[in-house]
């Protein structure tokens, strides 16, 4: 593949297609086994990121590159080859920020910043190096559509000044609006290079996945909101448990039988906290959580499970599944009571193994056996296992957080279909997701969690992407005002 000066080039591909490995090579974090890179007509083989930065290549990471307990200025200095003294650096940060509309206070602790502000730190860190190539790894995954537009404007300005931008994403619409060429990777190989404006999103997606994609479809007969709601959450309050967490404020919503209730919003706006409170991992300060009229707010997760409330949190290894335990043990993890896998504390391992085999068969989980460790499965397979484990326990209500995060397209489609099927069978599903398209695809009602507040739910027919974006942005704007 090749990049021209001043162009915005997209690098497209599914999870695990080799996008990250490729850019890590450009940034000197990984050495290629063979082949070479030529940069400004010279062989380029950086042995570490410092060399890459010196050569004029900068990178904005998707995660893992900011230090919560250090200040903005310290974070930026760490990403520079030869940073100026701190007072000069602080001035430069403010100047660059003004120039590109990316305002920051150099002395704030990074851990206290919002996702959008953290990304500004990363971008300014790169811009201070005057890079020739700027690599951006999934930059809009943490932004509202409105914030993303501000970012696109800044990127177009940069490109106009001659900076080349390599833009990694799997969001096809934004690539179509922003990029002038696209290189598509599949299973570690370049499969196509094209002009994204000339292709439809569907064509791009099929090039990426290699097969045609079936979009899950809801049946039209949706649960009507008559009678009593199945699940009613009222005035849930919870203080942030860590320095960098979000406090939940007066969360209320209702879910009826047979419906998929979507909760949108960018991660870090209280999603994890809400999930923990609903599952009973932490108890709320006040409020009620009623299922079929019974208040569960003071019960622990197992008690809630016994009453039909099941959960699948966002993080798979280390939260919804134990990485260093077998699939059978992971099946036992949440299904002990509902599937009667133990009596008086004595575990019936053969029943647990049978249950895990059922999950594997019915949810098409690819694994050599039930004895394999959960962490040996790919993200998509493990998520299918986790969702399968909960669905096969016949929940009255299933709450999932980011059901398809980091999951390949085929598995994502099948997981969404299973969630819809569950709702159609008469149960209810609450989906917390930052993927607006996913919510529009499967939900009946949508509300948005932003800065710890949950908006009023609205039927999906009344909503457009832009509406949801505006709902998501509400609190982000107030945050930026504080910084300015």
């Amino acid at each position: 593949m090749s990049l021209e000066e001043g162009e915005i080039c997209a690098l497209l591909g599914e999870n695990g297609s080799g996008k990250s490995t490729l850019v890590k090579m450009m940034y000197g974090l990984v050495k290629p086994d063979e082949g070479e890179m030529i940069f400004q007509s010279r062989t380029y083989s950086p042995s570490n990121p410092n060399e890459a930065r010196l050569a004029g290549i900068a990178m904005v990471f998707q995660h893992f590159s900011l230090f919560d307990a250090l200040t903005v200025a310290e974070n930026i200095a760490l990403g520079m080859v030869d940073p100026p003294p701190f007072n000069k650096l602080s001035r430069e940060i403010e100047e660059k920020g003004k120039a590109y509309g990316l305002l920051l206070n150099p002395d704030s602790m990074v851990g206290t910043l919002s996702a959008g502000e953290r990304q500004r730190v990363e971008i300014i860190r790169c811009l201070l190096q005057n890079p020739k190539i700027l690599i951006m790894d999934e930059p809009t995954s943490v932004l509202t559509p409105q914030e993303a537009n501000v970012l696109f404007e800044a990127l177009r300005n940069l490109a106009a000044e001659g900076t080349t931008i390599l833009y990694i994403s799997h969001k096809l619409e934004e690539i179509k609006t922003l990029c002038s060429t696209a290189t598509i990777l599949r299973a570690g190989k370049v499969v196509a290079t094209c002009n994204p404006e000339e292709k439809s999103a569907r064509q791009l997606a099929e090039m990426m996945v290699g097969t045609s994609i079936v979009t899950p479809k809801r049946t039209e007969a949706q649960g009507n909101r008559d009678g009593q709601p199945l699940f009613r959450v009222e005035d849930i309050e919870k203080e942030a448990s860590s320095n960098f967490g979000t406090s939940l404020r007066e969360i209320s919503f209702e879910v009826w039988q047979g419906e998929v209730f979507g909760i949108g919003g960018i991660a870090g706006n209280g999603q994890d906290e809400l999930m923990e409170v609903l599952s009973g991992e932490v108890l709320p300060k006040g409020g009620t959580i009623k299922l079929n009229g019974h208040d569960l707010a003071r019960l622990n997760p197992n008690e809630r499970r016994k009453r039909g409330l099941l959960f699948a949190p966002e993080q798979r290894v280390g939260h919804s599944a134990a990485g260093e335990m077998s699939l059978t043990e992971n099946a036992y993890l949440t299904a002990a009571d509902r599937k009667a896998l133990s009596q008086a504390g004595i575990i019936n391992w053969s029943r647990a193994a049978e249950f895990s085999r059922t999950i594997i068969n019915q949810f098409d989980v690819r694994t050599p056996s039930t004895d394999n460790f959960a962490q040996s499965l790919s993200g998509g397979n493990l998520q299918k296992f986790v969702i399968g484990r909960e669905i096969l326990q016949n929940p009255e209500l299933l709450i999932v957080n980011q059901p398809t995060w980091g999951v390949d397209a085929a598995a994502a489609a099948s997981i969404r279909q299973k969630l819809i099927d569950l709702a159609d069978s008469g149960a209810a599903v609450v989906v917390i997701s930052q993927d607006i398209d996913e919510l529009l695809e499967i939900s009946d009602y949508i509300s948005v969690l932003s800065g710890g507040h949950l908006s009023k739910a609205r039927p999906v027919q009344e909503l457009s992407r832009e509406d949801i974006g505006l709902m998501m942005g509400a609190s982000q704007e107030s945050l930026s005002e504080v910084v300015v």
């Binding site: 050495k31 086994d33 063979e34 082949g35 070479e36 062989t43 083989s45 923990e276 599952s279 009973g280 991992e281 932490v282 622990n300 997760p301 197992n302 008690e303 499970r305 959960f311 949190p313 993080q315 280390g318 939260h319 919804s320 599944a321 134990a322 990485g323 260093e324 335990m325 043990e329 036992y332 993890l333 949440t334 002990a336 133990s342 504390g345 004595i346 575990i347 391992w349 394999n372 460790f373 962490q375 040996s376």
Partner: protein, 361 residues
């Protein structure tokens, strides 16, 4: 270059074989250490590891002694292994061992010279209670104030050692001891004596209980929900909450189990082989048991084997001190070395080592 690649699952072969390898490497390294000390390495190793079991003149005495000395190690290590599996680090078993002995012994001596059948069980229960109570200090402080249980439990070892010194010179001192420090000898108090079960072997009730504890731990970890929850907590606190475990109760359970078993070991030792409370009553079983737990890979049967090995080094060490004038500290160094080698070889079960060539640009 060598490339370390993390295995998705630890290799079962290497997990089983590394303790054996570690022991072999320790024998070699230990031999080198003895050679540097100016001892004949072959002779020293043979005296420590071979003579107690196979020397015809010694084995009749030494073989049962291995079991006797392994018993407290097994009891303590079994308890510790529960906490270690859950990432709850009780390092103060030595203190809980002492406090179990003091409380159990104190209760028994309070009834001296009354002879009654209930004194012995009461003494044993008091020993367990003493160990649990002492272990509850780090547990409750951890729950209430998030203090580090490693540091608190360890500080309490020093406190309990000073306490032991004070009671054996004061409160529990033998009134008929004509000024000698130390308590009455429980072996001479029939109702509280934990005597030999088989004449001439020294094997006492503690050995049997230790054996039972091995199977109890196996059942708990393998087949009981509580044991499963212990293992889940060891994976991460977050997932244990998700699985409905109350992390605070888990801290209490793990420290109570290890403290109680350490206290039990203490009272068995006091009423059996040791006989009396004195300043030097504790000999470091609480610390050696940490090595035993790791060497046994936190597995009950592994712990049994590791305890036997450690016990062997104690007895062999005494022999070597007596026959070869080898300093007793050498055994402690040998035990530390063994743990080092074991930990470093764990790498083999976690990682695959491959040799990788890269083609040049």
């Amino acid at each position: 270059m060598l490339v370390f690649e993390r295995r998705r699952e630890p290799s079962r072969f290497w997990t089983a074989i590394t303790p054996v390898l570690a022991v072999l490497v320790t024998l070699i390294a230990g031999g080198i250490m003895f050679a540097i000390l100016g001892k004949n390495p072959v002779e020293a190793i043979k005296t420590i590891f071979w003579a107690p079991i196979f020397d015809p003149n010694l084995s009749a005495y030494a073989r049962p002694q291995i079991l006797v000395k392994a018993a407290p190690l097994v009891l303590i290590a079994i308890g510790l292994s529960i906490g270690f599996k859950a990432n709850i680090w009780n390092i103060g078993a030595e203190g809980q061992y002492i406090m179990g002995a003091i409380l159990g012994g104190g209760v028994a001596l309070a009834f001296y010279p009354l002879e009654a059948w209930w004194i012995f069980p009461l003494m044993i229960v008091s020993g367990i209670v003493g160990g649990i109570a002492w272990a509850m200090i780090p547990a409750l402080l951890k729950i209430k104030f998030r203090t580090n249980e490693i540091l608190v439990s360890l500080m309490l070892v020093y406190v309990s050692e000073h306490f032991l010194a004070s009671v054996s010179l004061g409160l529990l001192r033998n009134p008929d001891g004509i000024g000698f420090p130390g308590s009455r000898n429980l072996q001479h108090y029939t109702s509280a004596s934990n005597g030999e079960l088989f004449v001439g072997t020294g094997i006492h009730l503690g050995v049997i209980v230790a054996l039972v504890s091995i199977f109890a731990l196996y059942g708990l970890i393998r087949f009981h929900r509580l044991g499963f929850q212990v293992r889940v907590t060891g994976q991460s606190v977050r997932i244990s909450r998700f699985a409905g475990v109350n992390p605070n109760l888990m801290v209490i359970f793990c420290l109570a189990a290890s403290g109680g078993l350490a206290g039990l070991a203490g009272i068995f030792e006091l009423s059996g082989p040791a006989g009396q409370l004195s300043i030097d009553f504790n000999v470091g079983y609480g610390f050696t048991a940490i090595i035993v737990a790791f060497l046994g890979r936190l597995n009950p049967f592994g712990i049994a084997l590791a305890a036997l090995l450690m016990s062997l080094t104690y007895i062999g060490g005494d022999l070597a001190q007596f026959m070869l004038n080898l300093p007793s500290a050498a055994i402690q160094a040998l035990q530390g070395m063994l743990l080092f080698f074991l930990l470093s070889m764990d790498f083999l079960s976690q990682y695959r080592i491959t040799i990788k060539h890269w083609a040049r640009g």
